[in-house]
Each structure stands twice: as structure tokens, then as C-alpha cells.
Symmetry: C2
Subunit: 275 residues, 2 copies
């Protein structure tokens, strides 16, 4: 893995610099994981089916089965055909968090219209402690420790006094845009004292249009009784497993609708509103 060393070293320096500069109001510990084999090169790329802008534009059906998706990664986020709920993959299990709040493991025969996955193997573990950590503060601290140009899968474990998530009702044809659909079909969950994992990614600005720049995490409670797309949380302590990817593979949605929607406009501002 000689080719990766320069970039990885610069990240590690960034982490140390951040720790030494005292930018953290909270206690933060970052450990590089050693003596653990790196992922095979072809497993160290993020993979995504379809692009966020196609989902935004209303391409709500896809042809990739969950069985096929599992061959591309054992960890990640996404949605299902008809945007029927929030998708979360952890340790190779694919879960659907539905608008009624229920969580189900999904059969391989289901399909997705958009999903972002990776074979997860942590490079670094970050531990944050301190009273009143919010999602926003956690984002700020993670950004100080990681390189802004890197592609990172993040797996966060914690107990959350509060956790605000959403899931959406499935759409019926003719489909509208995703923001329009969410306006009428989004259900927000205010979870209390829940323990679980956040699965997702921190992505650089150059992946705008294809994916969600910044943080994009879904939640799954350990008891598999709640979850959803994360809007906010509070916590006093988290463990953040970080897996930096070497790159990114985009497979275009093969549904005919993908060829018909207008992907010219920059939907970044619209996307921010619904994230």
C-alpha cells in the first residue's frame, strides 16, 4: 500500500495537529488502527448505485437488487424503490426503516433506486467525550480531525438521550421530485434514550451532484426497533470508526427514467434543505 502512504500520513498529521492545537472543547482521542490488514484494493472504494441528483429529480425506481448491492459493500445508506423508507447496511445486513417507525431486515429480492456502500474496515477510531455533544458539534470536531478532501465511511456507536430522524412514505406514480415528495410524506421521529449505530459517509465537496457533500448518516437502534435518516442528536460520548476510501465508483441507474430527467441544474441548495 505504498501509494496510499503520503495521503494517509498527511491525514494523521492533520489529526495530531488538531489534537495539539486544542481546538477541542471536549475530550477527543484518535487512534490509528495498526496490525490490521487494509482492505483489498478493490474493496477500498465506495460504491454507489445512481446519483443523488437523479433521486432528487424523481428517479425513484432502480434495477439493482439488495442481493447485488451486498456484493458491493457490507455497510452504508440508501433508499428503496418508490423511496419506500430509509436503507441502512451494517455488517452485511440490510435494514429498512419505514415511515411507521418499524425496522425490518430486507430480502435480497428487494430493489434500490439509490444506495451508497462500502466494505467497512476502520482505519482510525475517534472517541469523543463531553456533556451536551450535538450532531453539529460532532461534525465540527470530526472535520477538524479528517482531511476535507478525503472520502470517509463513518460508523458511530453511542447512547443518545435524544435522536431526531425521519423516514418517508413510499411514492406513487407519477413521481414528483424528492423535495416535493418529502414535503407531504416525511415522518419525523423524536427518539429518547436510544442506543445504536449511525452508518454513513463524510464526503468532499467535489462529490456534490453525485452524492451528498458533508455528513450523511442513518440511524439504527441496537434493539432494531427504531432508526431513520438522522437530522439531530445529543450524546455525552461516542465512538467513531473511520474508514477512508481510496476512491469512488458510480454506477448509473439503469431505469429508463434516468435517461429522461434533467440533470443539468445544480440541486445543491435544494438538497441542503432536506438533509
Amino acid at each position: 500500500m505504498i501509494r496510499l502512504s503520503a495521503f494517509y500520513n498527511s491525514i494523521f498529521r492533520g489529526t495530531l495537529a488538531a489534537l495539539l492545537s486544542g481546538v477541542f472543547a471536549f475530550n477527543a482521542i484518535a487512534q490509528s488502527i495498526k496490525n490490521r490488514p487494509k482492505s483489498a484494493p478493490d474493496q477500498d472504494f465506495m460504491y454507489q448505485y445512481s446519483i443523488i441528483d437523479a433521486l432528487m429529480a424523481g428517479v425513484f425506481d432502480g434495477d439493482l437488487t439488495i442481493g447485488q448491492l451486498k456484493k458491493k459493500g457490507d455497510f452504508g445508506v440508501g433508499t428503496f424503490n418508490r423511496v419506500d423508507g430509509e436503507l441502512l447496511i451494517d455488517k452485511g445486513h440490510v435494514y429498512k426503516i419505514s415511515y411507521d417507525g418499524s425496522v425490518k431486515e430486507v430480502p435480497d429480492s428487494d430493489s434500490t433506486s439509490a444506495a451508497f456502500v462500502k466494505f467497512f474496515k476502520a482505519d482510525t477510531i475517534i472517541r469523543l467525550n463531553g456533556p451536551g455533544l450535538t450532531y453539529e458539534k460532532v461534525q465540527e470536531q470530526i472535520r477538524h480531525m479528517l482531511n476535507p478532501n478525503g472520502i470517509y465511511a463513518l460508523r458511530i456507536s453511542a447512547t443518545f438521550p435524544t435522536m431526531t430522524t425521519r423516514a418517508e412514505k413510499p411514492a406513487s406514480k407519477p413521481y414528483t421530485s424528492l423535495p416535493e415528495h418529502l414535503k407531504h410524506n416525511q415522518v419525523v421521529f423524536e427518539l429518547k434514550n436510544t442506543t445504536g449505530i449511525c452508518s454513513g459517509f463524510l464526503l468532499p465537496p467535489y462529490l456534490a451532484r453525485t452524492n451528498v457533500p458533508g455528513f450523511h448518516l442513518h440511524y439504527l437502534a441496537d434493539d432494531h426497533k427504531s432508526g431513520g435518516h438522522i437530522f439531530n442528536f445529543t450524546t455525552d460520548a461516542l465512538t467513531i470508526e473511520v474508514d477512508m476510501a481510496r476512491g469512488f465508483t458510480i454506477e448509473n441507474n439503469t431505469n429508463a427514467e434516468f435517461g429522461k430527467v434533467n440533470l443539468q441544474p445544480d440541486r445543491g441548495a435544494e438538497l441542503k434543505k432536506i438533509e
Copy 2:
């Protein structure tokens, strides 16, 4: 290849619709290539090392050797370390077009800071005939025939009464941005009555920041005595081989500079000026 059929069909319909609607001032023929095996699925993705915005920002060195690049594709465009000339790959041979106008085949030990390649296998052949075709008119007609959301490798063969290209002198450290470097180090070639191939891509708007949206072609004369990054040409007849990709793999530049440059700003307007 069942999963590809819907999107491919929609493209073929688009082509027929364009032909029937009489949008062409010139004679245009598009043929789907049948009885020819499609590329293996994993060879039907475009691959790129680094991203255009990193090159724009001055990340002029990379760690990918030409030997490694050849394993990712047998066709495409790019540049070399220190932006020392224009890179063109055709049929597995990698050529450097230098600022002095010379063309050399490149040893596997050379390295690239940015390259965009694919294993080329044409799906469709388009023939355009008519006096006074310009690069601009050819772009317009190809756009009518292909899907605006598709990822296409294009290989164009023709005799060109005029062909305007550029190549750049290599940079010295400390590097500036690419636009700044080109301002002082770009050499423009006005070629006459030259026969050769244009190698490159037509990419959708959602690949802005990572690559060049729209057309990006390099030229190589059949006698290997001239070439470069194409600005303009005129011709009376072209054969355009089209290879639609299923997707796109981005491998981040592993040079430490990649982690240091600012990839936040949208460099699209700057990029248009130098293309």
C-alpha cells in the same frame, strides 16, 4: 445485460427521434453495433486517476504509473506529472504530445497526475458528412443523438483541413494553478490537412468538479507527428465510434498535495476558459 436494456433503448429511441425530426443540416447515420460482445461488466466503467479540480488547483504530480494506468483502460486522455504535455491512449498505446509538437510513445515507468480512461468497445457508430463541419457543429449533432445523462467515450476518425490543438510546457515547483500555468506555458498548434483520431469523452453535467462536463478530446495524427488537446477543427466527414459506460470510478490522487489544496470552490467557470 438485461439491466442495461432500458437505458440503452431510450438512447436508441433518442437517436431515431433526432434523425427523423430533421435536426441535421448534414447527413448523419447512426448504427448500433450488433453481434458483438459487450464489454465485461467491470470493463464497462470509465476510470479516472485524480479529479479535474485537483489538477486545476495545482496538484501536478501523481503516483500512478503508465503501466498501472494501462490496466484501467486502453483508451483515453490525461496529462503527465508536472503537466508535461497531453496524454492520449489509443488501442493500449500511451502517447505524449509535448509543447514542442513532438509525439512519443511513453514508457510504463512514467507517471500521471490525472488521466481518464476506459476499455474501449464501440456500441454505436455515427457517420457525419457535409461541407464545413466544425468542432462546434459536430458537438451539437452528437448531443442530439446521445443521452445528456450518459457517460460516453468517443473515438473520432477523420481528415481535418484545419485542426487547432495545444500542449503545455512542464511546470516547475512551486506549482501554480493550471489556468495560471497555461497562461504562460501553453503552445497552440495550427495543423493543416491532417488525418488522425480524436480520443476522449462526452460527460454529463453531474461529473463537474471531478471531470470535464461536455466534450474533452485529444488529437493524434495517424503519422504520430502531431496532436494535442483539441480547441477547434474543420472537416467534411467523420466517423464517430461511441462507447457508453455503465458508470465511473474515481481514484483519488495519492500525492500528499491532494490533501492540502482547497477543493471547495466550484472551478467550472475557470475550467471552461481553458478547455
